[in-house]
Symmetry: D2
Subunit: 148 residues, 4 copies
């Protein structure tokens, strides 16, 4: 468990419900990995639709799973009645997106009243060996009344 304060007893259920309701996740074939307060993993197995023309995971897809892992990491710290939106993000690609699956690991760096700063590290996994693929910094805003 991380050091973050949980503000809703339903924090985990809220993340799982939000994941389940997001059409892009099914469209890309994403799975939810570990879910902790302030830290959420998204897993993306390789499939033809998420690759670019050189046989690697597509950069846009890598960014997308970074973004959602960051978003749900932030959501896990929200009180009831609040959702989150991405304000902006930045991602650096470190190595080609290679592997049987990608794992994006979001982790809240700073949880303010209005804004949250989240880092997400994306790794490629092959035969149990991880290799860094990308890292990003995300700014999220808490919005009252936003559906999950």
């Amino acid at each position: 468990m991380s050091d973050f304060v949980v503000r809703s007893p339903r924090w985990e259920e809220r993340v799982r419900m939000s994941f389940a309701s997001q059409p892009l996740m099914a469209h890309l074939g994403c799975l939810l990995g570990e879910v902790k307060p302030g830290e959420v993993e998204i897993i993306l197995p390789q499939s033809p639709g998420v690759m670019q023309q050189h046989g690697y995971f597509h950069g846009g897809v890598i960014s997308s799973i970074g973004d959602v892992s960051a978003g749900w990491s932030a959501l896990s710290l929200m009180e009831e009645g609040f959702g989150v939106l991405t304000v902006e993000f930045k991602i650096n690609f470190l190595n080609p997106g290679v592997g049987e699956k990608l794992v994006a690991r979001g982790r809240v760096l700073k949880s303010g009243r209005t804004l949250l700063t989240v880092q997400s590290d994306i790794v490629g996994v092959q035969d149990g060996i991880e290799r860094p693929v990308a890292t990003g910094l995300f700014t999220m805003i808490a919005k009252e009344g936003l559906e999950l």
Copy 2:
């Protein structure tokens, strides 16, 4: 036409071939819009798979079309035998992704020997009216021998 110097007589064909060979484009339902030296448009009509749970275009999808419009803007200025890869990018979301379609307009700001800096503006279009959705700055690297 922009002010950029064209380094390959096949510059437009190369962009069109690269677009056609990228599985994610078909998977998302993207179309190629205007193609000029240093400037490439990507069009994304609304469809269920590219939306998030609140009925807007998904942030990851918005980033993805920004990224590819930037990448092909850079590719249009490459000489024969060179492709481009995204080094990193940053995107700010300005308004919710609303509209019958999104248009991402890449435009090279600086074309160096190794690196290119590209801006991409993404707008939502409804009944012919455009509204800003996001803007991003992308760093691309020229790679010899990279297939389109």
Copy 3:
């Protein structure tokens, strides 16, 4: 004049007061250029303390004037009683920082209730000729009760 709505009759005075009260501006030798609603220019003449070891304007200094031009562009749109803070920014360096002076031109892209997105373009000027040096995207947050 830009299209932005002015929310304080003292908008220009507020920008000029805030500039005058910031020690770093005097320390670097910055001047205030054009001030319009949503658009503020900062001018930095060459001097030994703001250069790096290769004889160019220092990247940190280039970022600093981008940041303050963006901040005061945002401040010019605030109502009375509100100040702004930088949440995050991103800057791409396009050409070496060369010239008798630098000019940073901030321009608000989106003015929301809580957050503002601002672009700043930094150019080097020599004998009246401008050359792009850097461009950045800045996220600013409006804070009630923040002194200018």
Copy 4:
């Protein structure tokens, strides 16, 4: 010591020489902290010229020390005859810049042939207690023949 391969026996001397030759460092009052392969610390004691108008360290100064800590982290891994330039960077501000001094800790995430990705964490220190102030991601390019 970090895991990075040292490519010049003079790696540490090169970092120290480069630091000493950079006028902005003296102008701001920066000190060099720990220097390891791929990891360099910059220390900035509080002084009037580096503060903004609310009594905190100025954001531009925070970015500047992040940038140079990242740059020298990259330089420490260069072979003889190569220097580094900042291509672009992104910084998120986490807490106000408070403390008797700031420490910026650069750390290379990926050292490629041409490009390096570096993270820098900036903390404020008061009475031996550290508090996060900012974190940034930096892209550096290796340049042959660049003076340190």
